[in-house]
Symmetry: C2
Subunit: 306 residues, 2 copies
């Protein structure tokens, strides 16, 4: 199913596959703008913790059990298993297996945001949850926003035939026959010419250099902050190890002429993000990221973190 | 606010401005695919009769009163006052005035589907409800689907600043910064070159000829069916005056190699449309419409209508 980007797909998925009062599970942290989409619908949100290896499947299972006992219906789990926004994390193979098994057993629908898959820097991206699960479990949201151009507002859903039929049969897709004919045709022409694959390869190479430049620039923070090398996507997640709060570092960083996204908006409970932050490396050339890293270190050196 | 066409705008408007269990008022008949969009949301539908001069404002007032007394909340009225789909009707000036006055007095929001405004064949289209109402009453949905190309999936909302701010602040628009950057830029370039206005003028001239060809072809049905000359838009509404049911005529017409849209899908109660039908003239050249008219007459001549 062709969509007008991941956000339209997520909005439509929420309209079609939730009922008023349902709970939507979201990872903690998660993409904050997806949460804004959910909040426009009459659903409740429940956060499930996730770490560098993915969502905590045991916590998911117990939370699901608790809600079911309370008579609550769960619409779906929204997850970004591959090159997570904001953490850059990749859900581990074992976690993927346990997650799709639990979802199948509990009839829990999974909405897999797979917008960053194409941007893999250290070998191929892991198999999607959709490819691992039995049909009917996963709605996978793909996108051309990251692999080609966000302004095209074009993406796609891969799912089983029955679920796809329900989406295609929605009023909003049926009325116009789709939401993205024009951009999709342009993309199809572009892909048919072979340019799309070349473009993805160029982006991978360029973003890999950017990621590596940022990683090199951060080495001076070792011991004072922790991070993992992101294997793909746009983001690097930094946790401050002691003392300084993200809000303090942000103020000092901006005084140095650099900035970042503090973690608080990625959590239902902003306090959870008090000592973490998201660095985006996709938009800037390596030398600018190196300079930004120097300024971030200078900012950190001025705070109580030192 | 730029939208991905009227259907996406209508879907988003319903998401943002209704609560579960609310009632949405729709004209009877109305655009059947809009109804499909509403049905994807947890709202109830109530039909308000309309005739060639527009919605019955007195029925609207009494229905609103009855629902309010029953403790029901009304989300909005969805109306197509100008070159109606399916009837081609234009809401009369007096009806417009009374409608916006009632809406203001009762704090009833109006969603005005104004997709056909540009296609006026007999002088300028009447002022929109939005232009007549005080701010905060009307959300007007405009479109480039009819005036340029449906496949662009691009349209726009005109409304007051506060309502616009709520729409712009929706999760789905905020996430991608919009839903139609690419097509909208193409349209802006096209409009800036003067081509857009020229194109609308060409469409008006072409569709006027098509409408007139269809009207001429229908003259043989006088006395057996009634219709009004549509002053704009795509559609002519035909009511069979005695005897034949639309379903019978459709079968006979298809045997003659022509077809039309029966009225039933445009009503909540399909029986209401048993003797009406919608003829679309926008897609066919005049000579083909003349031939289709001949075939429709031949079909009518074979039925109990004769």
């Amino acid at each position: 199913v062709i969509t007008a980007g991941t956000s339209q797909a997520l909005d439509l998925t929420t309209t079609l596959f939730s009922r008023p009062g349902d709970t939507v599970f979201i990872e903690q942290p998660t993409y904050h703008l997806a949460v804004r989409i959910f909040r426009d619908h009459p659903v409740e949100l429940a956060g499930i913790p996730a770490d560098e290896d993915g969502i905590k499947v045991d916590v998911l299972a117990s939370t699901l059990d608790r809600l079911k006992r309370a008579g609550k219906r769960v619409a779906f789990l929204y997850t970004i298993p591959t090159f997570h926004n904001p953490t850059g994390a990749v859900m581990a193979a074992d976690c993927r297996r346990r997650l799709v098994a639990l979802a199948a057993a509990e009839q829990l629908r999974i909405v897999e945001d797979d917008a960053y898959r194409e941007l893999a820097y250290d070998g191929p991206a892991p198999p999607s949850l959709w490819s691992l699960a039995q049909p009917g479990v996963v709605i996978r949201l793909g996108s051309f926003a990251k692999s080609l151009a966000p302004g095209l507002r074009s993406g796609f859903i891969t799912t089983d035939a029955e679920t796809a039929a329900r989406i295609i049969d929605s009023g909003v897709l049926d009325s116009g026959g789709g939401v993205s004919h024009f951009a999709s045709l342009v993309i199809a022409e572009f892909a048919g010419s072979g340019e799309y694959a070349d473009n993805v390869e160029r982006l991978r190479a360029a973003y890999r250099r950017r990621r590596d430049a940022l990683l090199a620039a951060l080495s001076g923070l070792e011991g004072r902050a922790s991070w993992r090398k992101p294997a793909g996507g746009y983001f690097l997640w930094l946790s401050l190890l002691d003392g300084m709060r993200t809000s303090e570092l942000l103020e000092l960083a901006e005084a140095q002429g650099t900035s970042f996204m503090p973690a608080a908006p990625f959590y239902l409970d902003p306090a959870s993000g008090a000592r973490s932050l998201r660095l985006s490396f996709s938009r800037y050339p390596p030398e600018m990221l190196a300079e930004a890293g120097r300024r971030l270190l200078a900012a950190a050196a001025r705070g109580p973190l030192r």
